[in-house]
């Protein structure tokens, strides 16, 4: 696996894109890697578009900004259009196929469609759609290890939130499972 990851995760506010970015960055730290996370919001007060950039590397990170991401996660259509374009050639584009019905016209990237809302719905909690996506993402990119993300999740979900831990762990796993199953379809 490559050492450097420059990841953009984008979607509507409320889709939890910030959280999964933070989980990756935290997991990287737990593994002794370097990582940065940086958010960006659209003009809407709430519920507009939002994205974050995560960098993971073996050595200290000079630039926390990324011109051509190595991976893009698009939770909605505008995000796919915006960030799919700048994705590095050969990079992964993860799209939420529960909400995105079109695809991107690029032959030089690896496009992974995951119906994360549907999967989350099946798990019983629509809110973990983002973590389903994270599971898929990790399964393919190996940016960080599952167990580090689990640790990060455990640290985050304490107190009243600990009830949600199970849903999240399931989501991680279901996401991974989904891509493992559909691996063959990836170009």
């Amino acid at each position: 696996m490559m050492a450097y990851h420059g990841i953009v995760i984008a979607g509507f506010g409320g889709q939890g894109v910030m959280l999964i970015g933070q989980l990756i960055a935290t997991a990287a730290m737990l593994e002794g890697k370097h990582s940065t996370w940086f958010p960006s919001y659209g003009p809407e007060m709430r519920g507009g578009t939002a994205n974050c950039t995560v960098v993971v590397d073996e050595k200290p990170i000079a630039s926390p900004v990324v011109e051509t991401p190595t991976e893009v996660v698009a939770m909605n259509y505008p995000s796919m259009m915006k960030f799919g374009k700048v994705l590095k050639s050969g990079g992964y584009l993860f799209i939420n196929s529960s909400m995105i019905h079109e695809t991107l016209d690029r032959k030089d990237i690896k496009l992974i469609s995951i119906p994360v809302n549907d999967i989350a719905d099946r798990i019983g909690n629509l809110k973990v759609a983002n973590v389903v996506m994270l599971g898929a993402f990790l399964e393919l990119t190996k940016t960080v290890e599952f167990k580090s993300v689990e640790e990060a999740l455990r640290e985050k979900l304490t107190g009243r939130k600990s009830a949600l831990l199970d849903y999240n762990l399931r989501a991680l796993e279901e996401g991974a499972k989904y891509v493992r199953k559909s691996m063959s379809t990836v170009g």
Partner: protein, 79 residues
């Protein structure tokens, strides 16, 4: 007196699914369209199709100016 007959048009792309119109409608003829997301990611409001009395409450409460209320001239002219 005959009940006024009306109907509403909702700009579903503009709608943010806040539900204030639904809450305000005295005849309960508005609902969320759970089947679709608009491009902002919301389930828009939708007119059930009958029963509107053109009271304008939904218009008055809609924070996103999505609603136009029409008063139909009773029965004679079709929609």
């Amino acid at each position: 007196m005959a009940r006024v007959e009306g109907y509403v048009e909702i700009d579903t792309e503009r709608c943010k699914g806040c539900g204030l119109c639904i809450n305000a409608c005295p005849t309960k003829v508005l609902e969320f369209d759970m089947g679709t997301f608009n491009s902002k990611g919301y389930h828009p409001a939708r007119y059930k199709g009958t029963g509107c009395i053109a009271c304008g409450f939904c218009y008055m409460m809609c924070p996103d100016v999505c609603i136009t209320v029409y008063r139909s001239v009773p029965a004679t002219v079709g929609k």
